[in-house]
């Protein structure tokens, strides 16, 4: 499958490790030791079978067990991703609802066009802008995200806030747009008109009738953003030098560290698939029409 794609990477792993001046004999010896001299199917089978037993092998570059590298990196990335989601989800939903309530107004244009532009600007451009303003200009935050070992949660937050903000900018537009579209749709729906005509106060109409119907699908959409988030993590972790799964993958790709690269890609693929699955399930659970339709 996809992992074969990683195997196509050109260049000799052994050659890469020993450098261009090593003689061919020692390159061959190391190739044998690493098992990279065997045929691709043989290597692939080896990898799959050991993967099933939970043994991910060890890094071809620094000999650390892959599972150790991957687990550490995933925990680190998880922290960063969680922080970004905690900030972006309420912000984008509130933004989208405000835009929808003032559809066509200047505020709506600002949130819609501004949000989508923020989404379109690459993560590293946001990183440069935020670092210049908040880290170097105002001196509020550090320029890297890698907090010292054993740092308290507040120190960690201080280090992670800027990278998380970059991810927030990239994720904001799409979630806000979905929240806006959902809210507009339910504002125009018959049940909302009925509620208004019943004489319910506007606040109640919005909360009980509009939001309940518009936000549930939006929450499911959030899960589908996992792909953008992961893509963003690679770049953000590289620029902030943060030891997460993105940086691990990036390093592995540049150093031809296949064991690490394959495991990282596999893990990302699984996370991505699970997130999409959760999105589908959430959508049907949260939307009574789909849920009941399936039950019939």
């Amino acid at each position: 499958m996809i992992f074969l794609a990683a195997q196509v990477l050109p260049g000799d792993v052994a050659r890469r490790i020993l450098g261009p001046f090593a003689d061919q004999a020692s390159v061959d010896a190391l190739s044998k030791e690493l098992g990279t001299d065997r045929s691709l199917p043989a290597q692939y089978w080896d990898w799959v079978s050991s993967f099933v037993t939970g043994d991910l092998g060890q890094s071809a570059v620094n000999k650390r067990p892959v599972s150790e590298i991957i687990v550490d990196a995933t925990v680190a990335s998880g922290k960063l991703a969680l922080l970004a989601f905690i900030i972006v989800v309420p912000l984008a939903i509130v933004g989208g609802v405000i835009a929808a309530m003032n559809e066509g107004s200047f505020r709506d244009r600002l949130i819609s066009v501004g949000g989508l532009s923020a989404t379109a600007i690459p993560e590293f451009v946001w990183a440069v802008i935020f670092i210049l303003i908040f880290a170097l200009g105002l001196g509020l935050f550090p320029t890297t995200a890698q907090f010292p070992d054993g740092a308290s949660i507040f120190t960690q937050l201080e280090y992670l806030l800027l990278p998380a903000l970059c991810l927030v900018c990239v994720l904001f537009g799409y979630i806000a747009r979905m929240a806006r579209a959902g809210t507009i749709e339910s504002l125009e729906a018959d049940y909302t008109r009925t509620a208004i005509l019943k004489g319910l106060p506007q606040r109640t109409v919005i909360r009980r009738h509009v939001l309940r119907n518009s936000l549930l699908p939006t929450i499911a959409v959030v899960a589908t953003q996992a792909g953008y988030l992961i893509g963003g993590l690679v770049i953000i972790e590289a620029i902030f030098n943060y030891q997460g799964i993105g940086l691990a993958m990036f390093r592995a790709a540049t150093q031809k560290d296949l064991p690490v690269l394959q495991s990282a890609v596999l893990l990302i693929g699984i996370v991505y698939l699970v997130a999409t699955l959760i999105a589908d399930i959430l959508y049907s659970v949260l939307n009574p029409r789909v849920r009941l339709g399936a039950a019939e």
Binding site: A120, P122, V128, L136, I235, A238, T254
Partner: protein
């Protein structure tokens, strides 16, 4: 990417007037509609603003080399990291290259890569979408599974893997982005074709015993041009985003090209030392270009999707 007016079949306009509800939000594709859309575009302020920004960068890409004050590739180690001033408007980078010249000329690489990749993706995606949407059944199932396999990983990760495998170059970048974006476009086209194929003009063409390729490209294609054009402008923005990201990671356009993403990644290490100018100006260039393309996409979407 204009609508091929001469190939718009007579059937299309008839359908447009006969069952406007069925054709739905996209409207028909007669010449009148195209004119109306262009008029709408000309009145759209977001479109105009976007066109001015993107137009500026296109001019830079074409004529930049002729007008810039310095050679963007000439290094001058004695005058490295000069702060912005009268002689070097945006300062010089760590190799003493003029940042202003590099930013202006740097428009060229991204404005070659992103549009070519998007055109490739649109052509592939449209063909794929037409075929999957029109045939449905087994053909659709098989092709859709293959498409889903392509989408099983985030685009930037796939792009990174391919770029590493094939070695970074402009061609690799164009092919990678083009192929990776095609499935996304094909989904939009497929959805449009699914409603279109049920309309009378398609069955009429089938009854006339037209060949399938003609029905696909001569009859249906002109009628799904609206969503395709919208999709093209939207994807162009994403292509710039992805190309810049891959360049930044070092898997895009190879050095010493004055590509913006590459400039940022080359000079980024200096930022904590206070040397902000070699990093900030290319960053701002990318930001303005994507905002411009996005404004255009926004204007096109509201003109074509009503």
């Amino acid at each position: 990417m204009s609508v091929p007016g001469q190939s718009a079949p007579a059937g299309a306009t008839e359908i447009g007037t006969a069952s406007p509800a069925a054709v739905g939000a996209r409207g028909d594709d007669s010449r009148v509609a195209t004119k109306e859309r262009l008029a709408l575009l000309k009145r759209s302020r977001t479109f105009i603003a976007g066109a001015i920004i993107v137009g500026f960068w296109v001019l830079c890409a074409i004529f930049g080399e002729l007008v810039v004050p310095k050679d963007p590739l000439a290094s001058d180690p004695i005058n490295d990291l000069l702060s912005p001033g009268a002689d070097n408007w945006f300062g010089t980078d760590k190799l003493g290259r003029d940042v202003f010249s590099r930013v202006i000329v740097g428009a060229r690489d991204i404005l070659i890569v992103a549009p070519l990749a998007t055109i490739l993706a649109t052509v592939l995606g449209t063909a794929l979408g037409l075929v999957t949407g029109y045939f449905r059944g087994a053909v659709d199932d098989v092709l859709s599974r293959i498409i889903e396999a392509f989408l099983a990983l985030p685009v930037i990760i796939m792009g990174l893997l391919v770029a590493v495998a094939l070695g970074p170059s402009k061609t690799t970048l164009i092919l990678t982005i083009g192929v990776l974006f095609a499935p996304i476009i094909s989904r939009t086209v497929r959805a449009a074709v699914l409603t279109e194929r049920e309309l009378e003009y398609v069955s009429a063409a089938r009854l006339r015993n037209e060949r399938t390729p003609y029905i696909l490209f001569g009859e249906i294609l002109p009628n799904v041009m609206g969503p395709i054009i919208v999709e093209f402008t939207v994807r162009l923005g994403y292509a710039i985003f992805t190309a810049a990201g891959l360049s930044f990671l070092g898997f895009g356009i190879p050095a010493p090209a004055p590509d913006w993403g590459l400039q940022v990644s080359e000079q980024y290490g200096l930022i904590s030392g206070g040397f902000w100018w070699p990093v900030l100006f290319p960053s701002l260039a990318i930001a303005t270009l994507v905002i411009g393309v996005n404004l255009i996409a926004d204007g096109v979407a509201s003109a074509f999707e009503r």
